[in-house]
Amino acid sequence: EADIYQTPRYLVIGTGKKITLECSQTMGHDKMYWYQQDPGMELHLIHYSYGVNSTEKGDLSSESTVSRIRTEHFPLTLESARPSHTSQYLCASSRDGRGTGELFFGEGSRLTVL
């Protein structure tokens, strides 16, 4: 059983609100990721981190930002939410940063912006 947790699982908010999606893992993994998942589409990598104080943008441009102050914690923030941000956001971590290893995923945060 994976030890990676996301909160909230579901969030409905109005346009213009600031939101933070939390992600924590207890496996001591250095590499962490945020993916955006929409129905019928590929999972798109929007952010990743190699470790503390390391963050990189992924393949899909996103208005969200991330931080990595502690190894176990990788929150994603939207300063001003818009309906176009409505999506499911999946957090993941891996022991191996070279692409050979398994990614452990959280259960996702489903965001709806009205």
Binding site: A2, I4, Y33, Y35, G40, M41, E42, L43, L45, Y48, E56, G58, D59, L90, A92, D96, G97, R98, G99, T100, E102, L103, F104, F105, G106, E107, G108
Partner: protein, 115 residues
């Protein structure tokens, strides 16, 4: 750049029937290959992976996949499916060298097993 194509968006099948979920990839360099499964309202979990060696890879829950380099395919198979296999299945690749090792996913195939 690498890409992954899952040829079927939905696959309906009856319980105890065999199933094959197709995955093709494109890459100019050697890749690692993965299949992940996502059950309703859950995150993804690894089914199996091909890194090197035998081209036939066995995973959890009775699934297996075969790496075919000449056809750039990595199709997933199960000889007899159960109702509990109903889920969405994602094929993914990562590049062996010279990259951050990030996974590139396909669009997913929804497997629906009917009694």
């Amino acid at each position: 750049a690498q890409s992954v194509t899952q040829l079927d968006s939905q696959v309906p099948v009856f319980e105890e029937a065999p199933v094959e979920l197709r995955c093709n990839y494109s890459s100019s360099v050697s890749v690692y290959l993965f299949w992940y499964v996502q059950y309703p309202n859950q995150g993804l979990q690894l089914l199996l992976k091909y890194l090197s060696g035998s081209t036939l890879v066995k995973g959890i829950n009775g699934f297996e996949a075969e790496f075919n380099k000449s056809q750039t395919s990595f199709h997933l198979r199960k000889p007899s499916v159960h109702i509990s296999d109903t889920a969405e299945y994602f094929c993914a690749v990562s590049v062996r060298r010279g990259s951050q090792g990030n996974l590139i996913f396909g669009k997913g195939t929804k497997l629906s097993v009917k009694p």
